[in-house]
Symmetry: C2
Subunit: 245 residues, 2 copies
DNA sequence: CCCTTTTATCGTCATACTGAGGATAAATGA
DNA sequence: TCATTTATCCTCAGTATGACGATAAAAGGG
């Protein structure tokens, strides 16, 4: 059977060949975390169209015909935020979600990505309802989200929590330079626990390559000025920062 | 522009609607590890057709129109091996690979899955070249595989190595019941290291819920008979089994 | 200017876990 | 009987961690 009405750019030759496989739509969806106002936030959009009109959703979109998955994720992230390219940014593949009815309109497979942004990242301003905004995570987790995005968000949170244990990624949440206390707040907010400042301080300084002192100190604020650090060269932590389960 | 020549089965209603997105083929590919003859093996097929005719490839296939991704992976696994359903089997999503030119024939996104099988699992016998077989991993890693399957295999190995650290999945490689030495061999072969039998023995027994004694002992073989165990209820290990990096 | 408050940083101590390796137990085969 | 092999138990030192005392260095109020 020949199908008509398949609309693409005329330059894409691939579409003109017969296909012996079921066609899927492939999208990328982004779980982007940041810390604002002493709370973990996630980047969301509000859907302006059916299905799930009015609900919050993760930012994302279709993968283009000649676009790599990672590239598509990075492109969507740049489109939704003002993050200056890959600097101070971590982006990794989270998982793929392809339950048949997850999008009632068509058979869609979504490749989810997880990103950590420093506080200074701001969503792109926009007047339409679809513009991205930072939503407090705790509130978002108890709302109804579009599609299976709540599941993706939960998986992203769990991945983020695990990653903090054995990687240096917590520094990706901090604007540069940062203090040990800033770093500790990241762990406390992501893990939703309190951590002993003295033991944490010892642990971070004992982890070679986690942070490097800049030589500077904080000036303003209450209490004793704190040493300032930048991220070190290490990416993995041996042994990891232990979390109580 | 309207494209003609898009050929699919007429029974699939979805296909007959206009699509405003690029169509992708979605496949699942399997990285299935087992231990045979004191070496780590991976399940492979040999490609009988172009492209990559004659090369080894990971078993896999197209996801069906109304099939979940996990279901498709389990189906492919059952089709290629005689593993009796989900018993003694671990199957998890590994990652998704969608570089535009990874399949020269069409734009394909492959969702890779990782599975651990006990030794008793055997590939389905078949006379054609496409029948699955166990290939020694070390040799396979230095061959040219079809598509990007070597990359997927490397990622699967790294995932498996990491998983042994903090989960009880090593028991999935062992036929039931097993000895502590059997379990240690799994770690040694997957990590490609040697482990002190005494310290490993202590670590396993100290990890609550990792293994449960059956009360039986091995009868034949050299040396003192070993106690037999079955997998315990735990899935995670706190603290993990440490590996030298 | 003194004192309280706040936060950063250092130190102490008991406990837990690991790596190295000695010693014993229980089987097989010469 | 004895050497060999493997399983299991034990000791000991080094390292990491949790709990928490103590000090340092700032701000702010009287």
């Amino acid at each position: 059977m020949t199908i008509k009405g398949f609309i693409v750019k005329s330059t894409i030759v691939t579409y003109t060949r017969p296909m012996a496989f079921p066609p899927f739509a492939v999208t990328v969806d982004l779980v982007v975390f940041t810390i604002r106002d002493d709370a973990l936030h996630v980047l969301t959009i509000r859907r302006g169209e059916s299905p799930f009109k009015g609900r919050k959703a993760l930012p994302g979109g279709f993968v283009k015909v000649n676009e790599d998955l990672d590239t598509a994720a990075a492109r969507e992230l740049l489109e939704e935020t003002n993050i200056g390219s890959v600097d101070r940014l971590h982006l990794e593949q989270l998982g793929t979600y392809g339950t048949p009815k997850r999008d009632p309109r068509m058979r869609t497979v979504s490749v989810a990505y997880l990103a950590f942004a420093a506080d200074l990242a701001t969503p792109v301003a926009g007047t339409d309802a679809a513009s991205a905004q930072w939503s407090p995570l705790s509130a978002t987790l108890s709302t109804k989200m579009a599609f299976d995005h709540l599941t993706i968000l939960q998986d992203g949170l769990e991945r983020a929590r695990a990653k903090l244990e054995y990687t240096t990624l917590a520094a990706s949440f901090c604007s540069n330079p940062f203090t040990i206390a800033d770093l500790r707040h990241v762990y406390e907010l992501v893990w939703d626990t309190t951590i002993d400042p003295r033991n944490f301080h010892r642990k971070v300084l004992a982890s070679e390559g986690f942070v490097e002192p800049t030589g500077e100190h904080t000036s303003a604020g209450r209490g004793r000025p704190a040493q300032l650090f930048r991220p070190g060269p290490a990416t993995q932590l041996h042994p990891p920062v232990r979390r109580q389960h």
